[in-house]
Every structure is written in structure tokens, then in C-alpha cells.
Amino acid sequence: MSSFTFPVEAGAVLLFSRAVGYPDSAYGDGKSGAPPTFVQSSAQFDPESHLRPKPGEPWRGSGRTPSGLAAPVPTAGSLHAEQSYEYHRPVRVGDLLTATQVPGKSWEKAGRRGGALTFTETITEYRDSAGELVVTARSVAVVPSKVVEAPAEDAGSGGSGSNEESAVAR
């Protein structure tokens, strides 16, 4: 379990709203709350987030080599299978939220192309400075248990359609 503080800032809400397709009139006044998936940007404030480069640490992105790493990328990694939010009250600019991540259930399922898929649920609770629950986020990640040669296969690329196992890389 880890915990960190996530300030809801007007500029961040505006930039996020633009990125998902809103006109500035929707959330640009700093008074109209935030888009439904805005709390996902708490990753910016998560000291342990592995989704951003950190000074002095290796990063898997192209530089001198396509992978940015000395060794090839080992596995397909984790894919995002499901995401949901429960809103206990609207998120507002000025909120100082505390995000607490709690591991959830874990289960296995046979993949369509053989091998087992391991699903892992993570619950993140966002509480305001009074300790009241604002948003509960539930994320389900899936990891193929076997190293796959072509990650695109297990990521359901190329329009493989609505199979239960398909998932999109985070």
C-alpha cells in the first residue's frame, strides 16, 4: 500500500480536458470540476510512478537505440484490461486529494491463444483533506504468464475484436 498527495490544479485540469477533446469552455474556468477520468493524472504526483522518466535512471524509450536500454525489452509487460470510477462527490479545483493504492483481487484465465493470463486489480482511494472519500478508482491489469514473441498478439491489436481477454497497453 502506498499513499501520496495529489493537488487538483486549474491549469492541470484545463490541459487534461484539452487532451481528451473538450473545448476550453467546458473546464477552463476552474470552477466546473474536472473531466471524469482526471484523477488518472495523479500519476504526475506519484513518486513511484514507473510511467515517467526520472533523472539518472534508465528509461525505455528511443535514444541511441530503439529501446533506450542496453538489453532488448524482455516481455510484453502489463496491459490495461479494465478501468472504473465511483464518484462520491465531484472533484473540484482546489481539492488536495490523498491517493491511497490498495492491492485488490488477483485471478487467472486461459488466454485465447494459449497460455495463462493473470489479472490483477488495484483499488485507488482519493480522499479530500477532511478524509472524505471523493473517488474510488478500480484498475485491472493483465499480464501474460508466458513471454510472448509478438506483444501485439496478446494486446489484441489489428482489430481482433471483442474477445474477453483483449486489453490495451497502459
Binding site: 487532451a19 481528451v20 506483444p151 494486446a155 491489436s157
Partner: protein, 138 residues
């Protein structure tokens, strides 16, 4: 359609994008803090990870689909929003979302509307399925 007039079985379709751009993927990476190079670094996506190229964050598609939901519920209050990621979304994709009203209930003087959500690409392949519920002003 105003949310105040909704009935079970109503559907509304919105075009999220006619042509998803790589620039929007970069905007989403910067705004969300998800800098996974699979979504912004074409060389990495092709040569290190074996994909045809960069593809959209699942959460970008969920965020864009969320706009279809908030456009529909208007000044209503979202109570729950959840999706399953079914297929990848690529630059150049056309994305449309269909919302279907599956239930309307009264709760403590509020009207709660339940929605079914489907976002499909230009080939008709479903990329996201989900549900949402919102409290509409009475």
C-alpha cells in the same frame, strides 16, 4: 436530446474524432503523466516492442468517451463510469460512441440514469465497452 427527456431505450451517437492524431497522443501523455513510449515513440513501438507503430493509451479512449457521457448528462452528476478495453486504437482511427439508456430510477428526489457505452472504430470494431450512471437534476 436533453437529459431531462430521456427514456429507457434512447440512444445517442457522438463522433469523438474523425482522424485521431499522434499529436493528441502526445497531449494525453503530457497531461496524464503516462509517458509510456508505446504511445509517443514510434521507433520504440516498432523496433523495440514489435507493434506497427504508436497506439493510443486506453485511458485516452476512455477519456474521450467520457466526454460523450458528460455531454449527454449535461449538468447532471456522474456517479459511476467504468469500461473494458477491447481493442487497440491507432492514429488515423475514426471513433464514435453510442450511449444507450438502460434504466431510469428515482432515488431520494433524484433521477438516476443508467447508460450502456460502446465506442467503435471506423471498421465497426468495438474498442471500449462500458457503463455509467448519473444523477440528473429534477
Amino acid at each position: 436530446m436533453s437529459p431531462r427527456e430521456v427514456a429507457v431505450g434512447d440512444t445517442v451517437e457522438s463522433v469523438l474524432t474523425e482522424d485521431l492524431t499522434r499529436t493528441q497522443l502526445v497531449m494525453y501523455a503530457g497531461a496524464s503523466g503516462d509517458y509510456n513510449p508505446l504511445h509517443t515513440d514510434d521507433l520504440y513501438a516498432r523496433e523495440a516492442a514489435g507493434y506497427p507503430g504508436v497506439f493510443a493509451h486506453g485511458m485516452l479512449t476512455m477519456g474521450m468517451t467520457g466526454k460523450a457521457v458528460t455531454d449527454f448528462v449535461g449538468d447532471g452528476e456522474l456517479l459511476r463510469y467504468g469500461v473494458r478495453f477491447r481493442s487497440q486504437v491507432w492514429p488515423g482511427d475514426r471513433l464514435t460512441t453510442t450511449l444507450t439508456v438502460t434504466g431510469i430510477t428515482e432515488d431520494d428526489g433524484r433521477r438516476i440514469v443508467e447508460l450502456d457505452i460502446a465506442t467503435v472504430n471506423g471498421d465497426g470494431v468495438q474498442v471500449i465497452s462500458g457503463t455509467a450512471s448519473a444523477a440528473l437534476p429534477v
